[in-house]
């Protein structure tokens, strides 16, 4: 049980690392959204699932309710994260930011 939790948690942390490094490395606003919006979502999925599993260790009604709440956070993240990403990219388009194309300088 502990091994599964640790593996899931580390996989989540790996994707979080990918997200953070991607935000720093990618050349422009639109391509930065790719790691920010989605690697973070998958990282949250894995890490939060691991924590909910670990919370069920001492099984009772109380811990079951807490685990359901943790899963509820996960459902909310899955609904909200694409919408937030979409709102940001829409604001960028309306403000007139031009997408980066191959061969330009990074900004």
């Amino acid at each position: 049980m502990n091994i599964i939790v640790t593996l899931l948690l580390f996989a989540g942390l790996f994707f979080f690392t990918g997200g953070a490094v991607g935000i720093l490395r990618f050349p422009d606003f639109y391509s930065r959204l790719h790691p920010a919006g989605k690697l973070d979502t998958l990282g949250s999925l894995l890490a939060i699932t691991a924590l909910a599993l670990f919370n069920l260790h001492h099984f009772s009604i109380g811990t079951l309710l807490t685990s359901i709440k943790i899963i509820l956070i996960l459902v909310f993240v899955f609904l909200a994260s694409p919408t937030a990403t979409h709102a940001i990219v829409d604001a960028g388009v309306r403000a007139g930011l031009a997408p980066w194309v191959k061969g330009e300088e990074r900004r």
């Binding site: 991607g22 690697l39 998958l42 694409p82 979409h86 990219v89 829409d90 388009v93 194309v101």
Partner: protein, 196 residues
Amino acid sequence: MDRQNQENLGTNRSPTNNEERSSTQSLQGRRLFFYPFLITFIIMFGLWLVLSGHFDAFHMSLGLISCAIVSYLSSDLLFPSPRIRGLFSQWVRFVRYVPWLMVEIIKANLHVTYLVFHPRMMELIDPRIIKFRSKLKSDLALVTFANSITLTPGTITVYVSIDGDFKVHAIDKASGDPLPGEMEARMPGHSVRSNG
């Protein structure tokens, strides 16, 4: 401008739409109003039970009263058109759609992680904007499709119109090519439209 905003945001897009629809369909009687109310009430009360954690009579009755008020006021927000007939098959399709989406998300996430950690990343990525027209018609299907495109890494939905025109920002050629393709064919709203 304002109407476009609502369409773009995707989630809260239909207050005006709703009023038109409910006024045209109010003639169809009270029975159509009842099922959305019941389903909204069940969802709300389940949320109440999970979030409060108290199971004594006082808190339960408070929850019953407030959930009834909320679902009476806003049941038409969750179900814009009170059409129950296709709902069950749509749910079955949705449940079958989610695991496939999970596998796609994980595969595509690995691809983006590979791009992020690649030392010569600037030569690999090739951002482009793709335009296509979707065949989906219902509001919910379009929103789910747009969110699924955004969740599949490598692609972000930039713009959706109510007719199904999509603009998608893809990070390289490989992740942009499969659109609309298989994901659209598996969408939950698709079968309902073709059945009538």
